[in-house]
Structures are given as C-alpha cells and as structure tokens.
Symmetry: C2
Subunit: 166 residues, 2 copies
C-alpha cells in the first residue's frame, strides 16, 4: 500500500514554519487532479496564511482549534451553480481534499480536515468572516503544516465492512 495513504493522520499541532509557495501549489495541483462528477470541477481554494485570519478560524468552530498553530489553512469552497445537486459539492470537494491530504504526506506535511458544510451555523460563520459571495459555499477547512506531534499508526481496515457477493 502507498505509504502516504498508510501514514496519513489528522495532525493538530504544528511547528511555526512556513510552507513554500511551490509546495502549496503542488498540493492544489494534486487536489485539482481528482475526478469530479461530470468533470464539473466545482472546487475553489482560498489559501489563508495570516496569523490573525488563522486565529480567527480557530474560533469559528469548536473543532478548529488546531488552526491556532497551523501556518496555513486551505479553505475549500464549491461553486453551487456548477452542480446538479448539492451532494455533488461534497463528492467533488472530498475527492480533491483527499488528494491534497495524500500529497501533503508526500511533501512531508501534516493536515487536518475540518468539515464546514453541512452545518448551517458553520457555513454562516465562514460566509460572514470571509465575505464569501454566492454561489460559493464553504465546504471544508484544511489545516496544513509541518507536524509537531507524533501519533501511533492506526490501521482502520475492518473486514466486517466488506462483503464479497458471488
């Protein structure tokens, strides 16, 4: 198995080290090379690196405290006008985000994927904080940075979740 898939974990503590812009672009290139429904590519990526903004995000949800130490947050939004149904925003953005997380491991980075949608409260908080115009919808916030924690590897393989039909 690809070691990037095997070793990816949710990292919630980061060292204060900037991510080179070329590396960030590589993460976004990986994200945009995900498949999307009808190839609609409804994703958008807002890269947030100012300390004030990152601290602000850490207050927008009780589950985003890790943004306080992260040097970067990639806010992933969907263009709701590009999709046939809202579920496709989650399909497309999730595929893109998973690519980004895997590529981040490849680049020596840690990440933590935080859902914004479908919580209406979190969506509203982000819309207000970042003046997000319709038809864009904030889907997820991804913390990115060099890890300041080591976690034991967990293999979530669970054979009871597989059924071989014959």
């Amino acid at each position: 198995m690809l070691k990037e898939i095997e070793t990816r974990q949710s990292i919630r503590r980061y060292v204060s080290r900037e991510i080179p812009e070329a590396v960030l672009k590589t993460l976004l290139r990986a994200a945009m090379n995900a498949p999307s429904a009808r190839n609609e590519q409804c994703w958008r990526f807002w890269v947030i690196r100012s300390r004030d903004r990152l601290d602000q995000i850490s207050e927008l949800s009780p589950y985003m405290k890790m943004m306080k130490s992260a040097p970067c947050c990639i806010l992933v939004l969907a263009d709701a006008s590009a999709v046939l149904a809202s579920e496709y925003m989650y399909y497309d953005c999730s595929a893109a985000i998973e690519n980004l997380l895997i590529e981040a491991v490849h680049q020596g980075l840690g990440t933590c994927w935080c859902a914004i949608g479908p919580s209406l409260e979190r969506i509203q908080n982000f819309k207000e904080a970042f003046s997000i115009p319709a038809p864009l919808v904030p889907i997820s916030a991804v913390a990115v940075g060099y890890a300041d924690e080591e976690k034991p590897l967990v293999d979530r393989y669970d054979e009871t979740k597989i059924r071989f039909l014959d």
Copy 2:
C-alpha cells in the same frame, strides 16, 4: 507530485483479467484508511465479480456501461444510521473512494468512479437489484480492472480556482 495522483484517469475499457483477492483487499485497506467525519467510518464495500451481476449493473444507469468489460465493481454504501447528516455519507465515502482510486493506480489497475446517490432513481435501482437493506444507502459504484485503453494525461490545475488571501 505523487505519480499515482498525476496519472489517475477514468478507465472505461478493461481486459478480461481477474484481480487477485489480496490486491482487492489492499484497495479496501487503502479506502478504510481515509479520514471520516467524527471517525464514524460509515462506509461499507460490496465486491461484485460475477459476469451476470456486472452486466446487470451496466444496465442500472446510462453512465455505467464500462461495467460490461470490468472484472470487478466495488459498490460503496453508507450506513445512514452512523451519520449526523446525509452529507457526511458523501464526505466519508468520497474520501475512501479517492484513496481506493489512488491505490489502484499504485497496483497497476484502472478505475472508473460512478455516482449512484444522490439520484433517487439510481439509488432505487441498486436497492432493488441488490436487495440493499436500510439503513444502508448505495453511494457509488467503482469499476476496477486492468486497463484496455490509454488516454492522454490531462492536468486540470487551474490557477483561476485559487485565491491567496493575505
């Protein structure tokens, strides 16, 4: 960038060659090592390899014709009772599927990801064809096999979809 991410493509023609069961399990291990909301891991995987069943799937949606040549379809379902909101089924299953697609490239396989949900018609077609009991919901069908086509690489990186906030 990881070459598996760079070279993944939707493959719609397959040679008739079985996939070793150990390889299939590696794909499913990769899938289950994706992150999920609240670590709920709502995903389930039904592995379908009988020719009759695969041919049947190719008739359940106009976009699943490739199942006619695929030696395997992994039907990805979600346990709706495990999630707080239906969108999380799409988050979790999409992250798992993207891992599966990337690992498939690593194993020399091609894939094609076909959405079932949110189309009520497709969901109903699959529920009936496979006697899927509630609370399971069919989310996507993924064709898996050794490719019988070569496609030019497309880089979907699009800088207009990125915004650097400062």
